[in-house]
């Protein structure tokens, strides 16, 4: 490292420290607001077990939302591509899982060994063969391409496998008691896997050479290419990683989702919200945003009975956008 670089990096490091402190402050505020909301919910509800159940369900489904949103946010953070096909990729993984379980009769989670690599490969091909040609062009091009992917996948599934719903059964699935509430074993496992995956992704991005290259491309694609990073390969790798996340999510949610070609749309709607809320491109932010949305959705049903539980989700969403347009954990641009 030359002197010039060293002196230049000092303010950058300081800025980074300031930003970290800033995030900690914001995280504390979010936790405090949630705690206040919880206390209020306990006071309002006639039976405390309802709120406990809402919290348990909110955290578990929130983890799944975060898991789906992670791939989406990674792709956006590095490629600036809004991936409309994310839900369709998830649906494809659901069908792969269903196929594996149907033909071999193994435990559904073993399908991860097939679904994740297959989705990784598909993501790589999609980016390398198609999307890379549209990079650097107006944003609508990429948007239309991913929209095309989603139509292709969903209608392909419909054409070849039919629209009838399917399901896979999770052997030994049962409700675990948690402080009077119940948590389905399959949902608990999906949640734990979401945490592990978020950790793995974070470590890949922060601690490996590949991760450094990905972050370099995200920060400045021209600069990265000047120091010898193959930007097109990094794009393909990132899209593949994001798609693999959708693949993992697909297998993990298969035991408690009705498997049909449009199944991914259920998660897609909230995943978009989660990505914006968590800060675009922020993997851990996606997980936090997912948890926040999961809890808000569940508590919404208690606060506003008779209304759609999503009402509170979008109230929170609009409020956050109003106060922090860059998302809760995003850096201001």
């Amino acid at each position: 490292m030359t002197m010039a670089e060293a002196t230049e990096s000092a303010p950058a490091a300081r800025a980074s420290r300031v930003w970290t402190r800033d995030v900690a402050v914001r995280a504390t505020v979010v936790v405090l607001v949630l705690a206040a909301a919880l206390v209020l919910a306990y006071l309002r509800a006639d039976k405390p077990v309802i709120v406990t159940q809402a919290v348990v369900t909110g955290i578990l489904t929130g983890g799944v939302y975060g898991l789906v949103a992670m791939g989406l946010t990674l792709i956006f953070g590095v490629l600036d591509v809004v991936n409309f096909a994310h839900g369709a990729f998830l649906a494809l993984a659901l069908f792969i899982t269903y196929g594996v379980v149907q033909t071999t009769g193994v435990h559904p989670y073993l399908a991860l060994l097939i679904a994740v690599p297959v989705m990784f490969g598909l993501g790589w091909i999609a980016q390398y063969a198609v999307l890379n040609r549209a990079m650097g062009r107006p944003l609508e091009n990429q948007l239309l391409i991913t929209l095309g992917f989603s139509l292709l996948i969903e209608n392909g599934l419909l054409l070849f496998l039919g629209g009838n719903p399917h399901s896979v059964h999770f052997p030994g699935n049962r409700g675990l008691p948690v402080l009077g509430a119940v948590a389905d074993l399959s949902r608990v496992l999906a949640f734990v896997a979401a945490l592990v995956l978020a950790g793995v992704l974070y470590l890949i991005l922060r601690r490996t050479r590949i991760g450094t290259a990905i972050r370099a491309v995200a920060a400045n694609r021209q600069g990265a290419s000047l120091i010898g990073v193959d930007v097109r390969k990094i794009y393909a790798l990132t899209f593949a990683l994001g798609t693999a996340c959708a693949g993992a999510a697909g297998t993990l949610v298969a035991p408690f989702t009705t498997i049909q070609p449009t199944a991914g749309q259920t998660f897609n709607i909230l995943a978009f919200v989660v990505v914006v809320l968590g800060g675009m491109g922020n993997v851990l932010g996606a997980l936090a945003g997912g948890l926040l949305i999961g809890l808000t959705e569940q508590l919404g049903g208690i606060y506003l009975p008779g209304q759609s539980p999503l009402l509170l989700v979008f109230i929170v969403f609009v409020l956050v956008l109003f106060l922090r347009p860059q998302g809760l954990f995003g850096r201001s641009s």
Partner: protein, 415 residues
Amino acid sequence: MRKIWTTVALASAVSLGAAACGGTAPGGATGGSGGGKTIKIGTLHPLSGASAADGKQLENGAKLAVEAINAAGGIKSLGGAKLEISSGDTQGKPDVGQSEATRLIQGGAVALVGTYMSAVSANVSAVAERNKVPFVMDVTGDDGVLKHGYKYTYRIQPPNSQMGTQGAQDLYEISKAAGHPVKKVAYLHDDTAFGTSVLAAFKAQAAKLGFQVGPEISYSPASVSDLTTQVTQVKASGADVLAVTGYYADSVLAAKAVASVKPKLNAVFGIADGAFDQPQFPGDAGAAGAGLYDTNYRQDANNPQVQQLTTLYQQRFNDKIRTEAMLSYDAVRVIAAGLEKAGSSDRTKLRDAISGLSLDSLVIGNGPIKFDATGQNTGSLPVVTQVQGDAAKVVYPAKYAEDKVTPSFPATAGS
């Protein structure tokens, strides 16, 4: 860049998933006929999108009806004219349904059949009225569709209000006969017009019969992925019956949540529910589906013609037939009988003939298919099914029961 994300998220929020769909309209081949005269019937069903499985069933039902009528010699009063289907894909969207209806009418369809979704049917009925083309609705629940005073729109299935009213009545009678008269019903429903209108009718009838309805818990079918909290609310409320109105995937979630929360219920009772009476439901829900009731339209399993059609459908399409397909089959039969009676393919003469028809149905009813002044089939009658073993079977009223089964009550799901 950020603005794009915000727009994307907001757009998804507003249209609830519509952002990611789209699709293409198939070029429905409406090619000319050869020597003999052919008469075109337009079908409008969701062949792509989230309801594609149902749309396919409806489309196949109409197809089989046309084949059967042609094989039996076509429309005899018109010199054995053959029927032909012009097919339109609504994608489940009202605007697409409207443009497809216009396309089919311009292509020469003498009548329309459809559409599975009330919002789509509402638009198509307006197009049909404007063009004076008879429109026979196979599946469409919303009461409002027939309240415009249109002269060309008919409905075969029972409307939402009838299903809600009949559901409350049946639940009351079954529970009373079993010695556990219903006292308090918790109601879980989707927050669209479907769930809310069925609930309203159910509540009105419950008030007449003297049992309580509450809590009323709603959810958004397009985004729901768990109903455990909602079922915990049901458990805490002390209700003795849970009524459910919803679509397929969300109703499976409801059944699974009941199985894991285990509320003390005498019954889980679907009211016009889109899952509990379907042939694939017991397999998808597993143990959680056992004993679940549903009040809904239903094919008459004791009718030999229905049994033949069931076998034929399995052979032709490698799938189990649903009542929906029987309804579209009936809708085509109504049009064929109208053509036969009118002796003309003139659309207004056909309308007049359909208005005065009386036709036996493949679907259980309290009389033949006949239309009142609004166009509603006066013979429509929802009946009660229960999942027993690996299938949902009609259990009530007793005279329509399949395999002579009787309602099992109390029936705690998932145990």
